[in-house]
């Protein structure tokens, strides 16, 4: 177990190194540079700025410096917000994103699994059909349209919730719904089809023949097996919530990291883009690692050493 963890952690480090190298390379492939602007700056200012951010060092030196700092999780200064480091900004804004993200995560998992179960239980009834129609709609409508509809409905037509900003519990509802809509639909479809799969298994038939009630059959026998694909979806789910937060936080003017990321794309604040990308990748990789470690606990058939997908 410990050996496995060590192995995986080493692997994650290699992946992070590759990621940092790729992002660094991409960022330095930009023609011009982070300070090339329409307005010409005096050469002395340019020189001073380049000196300050070590931009006139050789590429190898810059790379080595960046790696050294990244190794201790120091992502450097922001070009557009002088005096603030990328770390400051992440520390300031990420808690908000994390709060929204976790609420959406649990919303998506809870509602998705329950609804999927009900749909599978009442297969081919109108409940099932209407749920699946909702799920298909949820998968095919982009989150910014869902957000727009939610704002229109619940903030303007029927003003019961705030349309934007982030000042308390009632401000969480709409963004969380907009963010969770798509993953919820996906989990719903996933749960439904995997429960239907599980219900077709022999051990379910045996249990049914023994006279086990449908409801307890569903909860005690089918659900446990049906949840496995859902557990393995938590990794991609976290990733999709993360990218979804860019849009949702921008629309609802939530001061989270996602909105900051979008702003720094608009501003072409390269160290911010670079830093946040690395931070997010780190987060996702760690998340996947945790899920891979948890997975065998849920499903004892999978031994840790075996690679997933084999």
């Amino acid at each position: 177990m410990i050996l496995y963890l060590m192995k995986r952690l080493a692997g994650a480090c290699v992946v992070l190194w590759v990621i940092i190298t790729i992002t660094f390379g991409l960022m330095h492939a930009i023609p011009g540079g982070p300070f090339t602007q329409e307005k010409k700056l005096p050469p002395a200012v340019v020189a001073a700025v380049e000196e300050r951010y070590h931009l006139n060092d050789s590429l190898a030196t810059q790379y080595w410096d960046y790696m050294k700092h990244a190794a201790v999780l120091d992502l450097g200064p922001s070009y557009k917000y002088p005096g603030k480091t990328v770390n400051d900004i992440i520390a300031e804004t990420f808690p908000v994103s994390a709060e929204l993200g976790f609420i959406s995560l649990f919303l998506a998992l809870g509602v998705g699994v329950c609804a999927g179960m009900v749909a599978a239980w009442r297969k081919n009834s109108w409940v099932d059909y209407s749920m699946m129609i909702c799920a298909t709609l949820g998968v095919s409508v982009p989150s910014f349209i869902i957000a727009a509809i939610l704002i229109q409905l619940f903030a303007f037509t029927w003003p019961i919730l705030p349309a934007a900003m982030w000042h308390g519990p009632s401000y969480v509802v709409l963004p969380a719904l907009a963010l969770a809509a798509q993953p919820t639909s996906f989990i719903m479809r996933l749960t439904r089809s995997s429960i239907l799969d599980a219900l077709a298994q022999d051990y379910i038939k045996t249990a049914r023949a023994r006279g086990v009630e449908t409801r307890s059959l569903l909860i005690h026998h089918a659900l446990r097996n049906a949840l496995l694909p859902v557990v393995s979806y938590v990794g991609p789910l976290a990733a999709s919530l993360l990218t979804g937060s860019f849009i949702v936080e921008s629309i609802f003017a939530i001061p989270g990291l996602g909105r900051y990321f979008v702003t720094s794309i608009y501003n072409r604040d390269y160290t911010m883009i670079l830093g946040i990308t690395i931070f997010y990748s780190f987060l996702i990789i760690m998340m996947n690692l945790v899920i891979d470690v948890i997975y065998p606990m849920v499903d004892p058939r999978i031994a840790l050493q075996k690679r997933k997908g084999e």
Partner: protein, 304 residues
């Protein structure tokens, strides 16, 4: 034992049983015909494609004709979908948007297909250590949030149509590679492939006659489902300001412009959003239907 227990069968009653050979196409089509949603999806996709190709040819405006006197005009007989803040006809822009969004979906998916089939095909065919290493690379890439790298690519290269094709194409081939490799691996063990090999059939012949036709089902399904994903991603990129550059507009650009003005001019959001959502639904229905029809082993949703 008395043999007269059984009446001899009247030869006239013997009807030769003729089962038509079940090709993928005939079986798939038969199943598709029963699936009304899939047919609806197919219809939507076909209509949208026709609109995208021929729509812009029959309109009286162009996508960048500006008419400030008519800015933000509500839908009227003159401008069926109204106009945007620069007085450009929204109907024409939605029609052109269809062209751009669908072409992005198609181009990105074809690049996916190309890379994925070659990569997965090599991994599956060669097998052994090469396969292990290649699939390990895929696993590693899989754990990286690709969308971030698409964003990064779009930041580095200028946002433009061609760059969107390329960025989306090279980011999302992983799924295709996995599916092709899995198919090839399982097909390699099939008896008829062993049989063909024992006859001395060449590898090329086995590949083209046995492997590729049998991989087609999952490949088509993955391809169909990757088109809406690409359109979706493009809409997302447009929203964060990395979409196609003005005055061209994809549905994503039109929708995100519409969101900015939705309080005052809701029609500017409704029309492009409806076009986008209807098309997405069409592809989803079609993809699901194709999956049920062509790929009976793989009906789970787990592999995106």
């Amino acid at each position: 034992m008395n043999t007269h227990d059984f009446e001899p069968v009247d030869p006239k009653c013997i009807v030769p049983i003729r089962i038509p050979p079940q090709t993928l196409r005939s079986r798939g089509w038969r199943q598709m015909k029963q699936n009304k949603l899939a047919l609806l999806g197919l219809g939507i996709v076909v209509i949208m494609t026709i609109i995208a190709i021929f729509g812009p040819l029959v309109t009286s405006y162009t996508y960048d004709d500006q008419d400030f006197a008519m800015a933000n005009a509500y839908p009227s007989p003159l401008h069926w979908f109204g106009t945007d803040s620069l007085g450009r006809d929204l109907l024409v822009r939605v029609l052109y948007g269809a062209r751009i969004s669908l072409s992005i979906g198609l181009a990105a998916s074809l690049i996916n297909l190309f890379i994925g089939v070659i990569y997965g095909g090599i991994a599956g065919l060669v097998g052994g250590r090469v396969d292990r290493i290649m699939m390990h690379i895929v696993d590693i890439l899989y754990s990286i949030p690709m969308l971030l790298y698409v964003i990064l690519l779009m930041v580095v290269f200028k946002p433009g149509l061609l760059n969107i094709y390329i960025a989306l194409g090279i980011a999302y081939w992983l799924n295709m590679a996995r599916i092709v490799r899995g198919q090839i691996l399982s097909l390699k063990k099939q008896d008829y492939v062993t049989a063909a090999r024992s006859y001395g059939t060449s590898t090329w012949h086995i590949l083209t006659r046995h492997m590729i036709p049998n991989c087609m089902g999952p490949i088509i399904v993955t391809l169909t489902l990757s088109i809406p994903e690409a359109i979706f991603t493009e809409a997302f990129l447009s929203f964060i300001g990395l979409g196609v550059s003005a005055p061209m507009a994809s549905w994503g650009v039109l929708t995100s412009e519409g969101i900015n003005s939705m309080r005052s001019f809701p029609f500017q959001l409704i029309f492009p959003a409806a076009a986008l959502c209807i098309t997405m639904l069409g592809f989803m229905f079609l993809g699901d239907g194709l999956r049920d029809a062509l790929d009976p082993q793989n009906q789970k949703e787990g592999n995106r």
